[in-house]
């Protein structure tokens, strides 16, 4: 089985570019150029240098001793939470802003759910002196206030998405509409491994630094490059795609995805796309999608703003359908408990998104000598209010 994207932008039957003609010139221009630009030595050099000196990479691969003892297996945490701006999102925004410059764009737009991608975009725009507009659902603006303040301080304009469920899906609609209205000077920095081809592949490649580092870091620590499992939470799937990338074709590495079950898969308030979704088209991409029988997109729910999306990236839909990936979902409660547990055992407060990945231990038992690498995609600073409210701290 092949897990790389095809020439036409498909992973198995998923992917493609289902875009209105208004977006065609921009998306086509990107499609024709992204691999070429990414291969240019000066692009690579600048990307690598910024990841090192600005983001603080490589991010540590940390052996979580007490967590390992508790679950009687060997747990490593890939510390994306230690990146500048506090999550994996910045790997992609650094790559895409350099891409935007190469393509001659001056204005940047982005969508954001938890605000992490918005902050990471506003940050690189400040760094490069580019105009930045971030679309964010009105509900997310309320539940991720510290990140809204950060974006504003960084000079970005935060525009509320007022339509639909007023969360990530709607922010993405608004960003796409902005791009339709501003086709010449603007680049759209999509924040996850979603959207029309070539976005899922481009975002995955920028995030693939995560698994590239895991390989050599694990070699140093365990004497082997391949863990037994890699585990990540999935909103749209960018931290997961980066965590899996270099292991996709290594059959001995188990690939585990954890989605947000919200209040329970069958509660009507969930974002567990692989369990609840059917093949459909969202935001320019054919993928698994939560929808009604009539093809209307359903409003998802999760306590975590970053996982509150009714689709998954096409790579993940393919991993699910082909059986290459093992898919689980964690409820709000399971995630919150797992987040608190990591805090108490290891002194690390994770983002609620990442807490979903940690909740894997509530669903799967590993062998004592299994090496399990978990993507700790972000830190919990932005979620303190939610943790405090949830646990009455």
């Amino acid at each position: 089985m092949n897990y790389n994207v095809t020439e036409k932008g498909y992973y198995g039957t998923f992917g493609g570019a289902y875009i209105p003609e208004m977006l065609y010139p921009n998306v086509e221009n990107l499609r024709k150029n992204y691999l070429k630009v990414m291969a240019e030595p000066d692009f690579k050099a600048e990307f690598d240098q910024l990841l090192k000196d600005y983001v603080g990479r490589p991010s540590p691969l940390y052996f979580a001793k007490r967590l390992s003892e508790k679950y009687n297996t060997k747990v490593y945490l890939k510390r994306e939470d230690l990146n500048h701006t506090g999550a994996h999102k910045v790997n992609n925004t650094i790559g895409q802003i350099l891409m935007a410059k190469k393509l001659g764009k001056q204005r940047i737009i982005a969508e954001t759910g938890a605000g992490q991608h918005g902050v990471a975009t506003a940050t690189v725009c400040a760094l490069m002196g580019m105009d930045c507009v971030v679309y964010m659902g009105e509900i997310d603006i309320a539940r991720q206030a510290p990140n809204v303040a950060r974006m504003k301080m960084l000079g970005a304009e935060v525009r509320p998405a007022l339509s639909g469920s007023k969360t990530l899906k709607d922010a993405t609609n608004e960003a796409i509409r902005d791009w339709i209205n501003n086709p010449v000077d603007t680049h759209y920095i999509i924040g996850s491994a979603i959207g029309p081809h070539p976005y899922p592949d481009m975002v995955t490649r920028f995030q693939s630094i995560i698994s590239e580092e895991i390989k050599w870091q694990l070699k140093e620590k365990e004497g082997r490059e391949n863990p037994d499992y890699v585990v990540a939470c999935i909103g749209g799937g960018s931290n997961a795609a980066g965590t899996y990338y270099h292991f996709l074709h290594e059959e001995e590495v188990g690939i585990i995805a954890v989605e947000a079950a919200g209040k329970g898969i069958n509660s009507g308030e969930s974002a567990a796309t692989s369990a609840l979704g059917k093949e459909g088209v969202i935001h320019g991409c054919k993928t698994l999608l939560m929808q009604t029988n009539d093809g209307q997109i359903t409003e998802p729910y999760s306590i975590s703003a970053g996982l509150d999306y009714p689709g998954v990236g096409p790579l993940h839909a393919h991993l699910y359908k082909s059986g290459r990936g093992e898919f689980y979902s964690a409820t709000d409660d399971e995630a919150m408990q797992s987040g608190l547990e990591l805090t108490k055992l290891e002194g690390i407060i994770p983002a609620i998104e990442s807490s979903h990945a940690l909740a894997i231990f509530k669903h799967k038992t590993f062998k004592p000598d299994d090496v399990v690498v978990i993507s700790l995609s972000g830190r919990g600073d932005k979620d303190l209010d939610n943790y405090i409210k949830y646990f009455n701290l």
Partner: protein
Amino acid sequence: MNRINQKMQEDKKLLSLYFTAGYPELNNTVKIIKDLEASGIDMIEIGLPFSDPLADGPTIQNSSTIALKNGMTTKLLFEQLKDIRKTVSIPLIIMGYFNPMLQYGVEAFCAKCAEIGIDGLIMPDLPLAVYQDEYEAIFKKHNLKNIFLITPQTSDERIKEIDNASDAFIYMVSSASVTGSKTGFGQEQTDYFERIASMNLKNPQIIGFGINNNETYTQATKETKGAIIGSAFIKHLTENGADTISDFVQKIR
């Protein structure tokens, strides 16, 4: 012959109107269509509402949200239209997004359209390449015309490709925008209209997006076969209800 092709041969400028099925009321689809024909409209785009209409601005988006809340579905729309050809003879086009069509089943959707007497489809997010690779044969089998969009940014080369793939008319988006966002046409649009006119395409062009009164209608149809009005008509329906359709049409031409 397909009714759209026939209409294109008439020696006049065409005015086509878009409305969202199920808006403002769930069950006035047939009434709106009949009133539009009675007011002298040449062609109608019946909007099949979608939860996430990417290419539309707030006006059509909002009408879609309300239509869905009212209970509009693909099945219901087909049910409402089942006898439409007993009374209405102008071309009817369904405009919607691809996902509802995909869930209904592309083949079943097209067959149903043919049975009802729908003449064409506009699916902005079903791109040319996917259409040609996977669905063209199905559309053709049911004598449904697929209408493609072009914009001021569409390259000449791509326009020629779209012209070759089309067999009805080309939907010329007036400016770089979602529906309902621009007011009035400036030099940039006029240049674009003239540029396309000078390409001598085999398909006639009809301009949509940003037409809201007699002035913009006249500008738009100077170089082209006709114009499509969407958001401005939806606004009229919102403000005046569905009983005053001829008032709106008289203001346009």
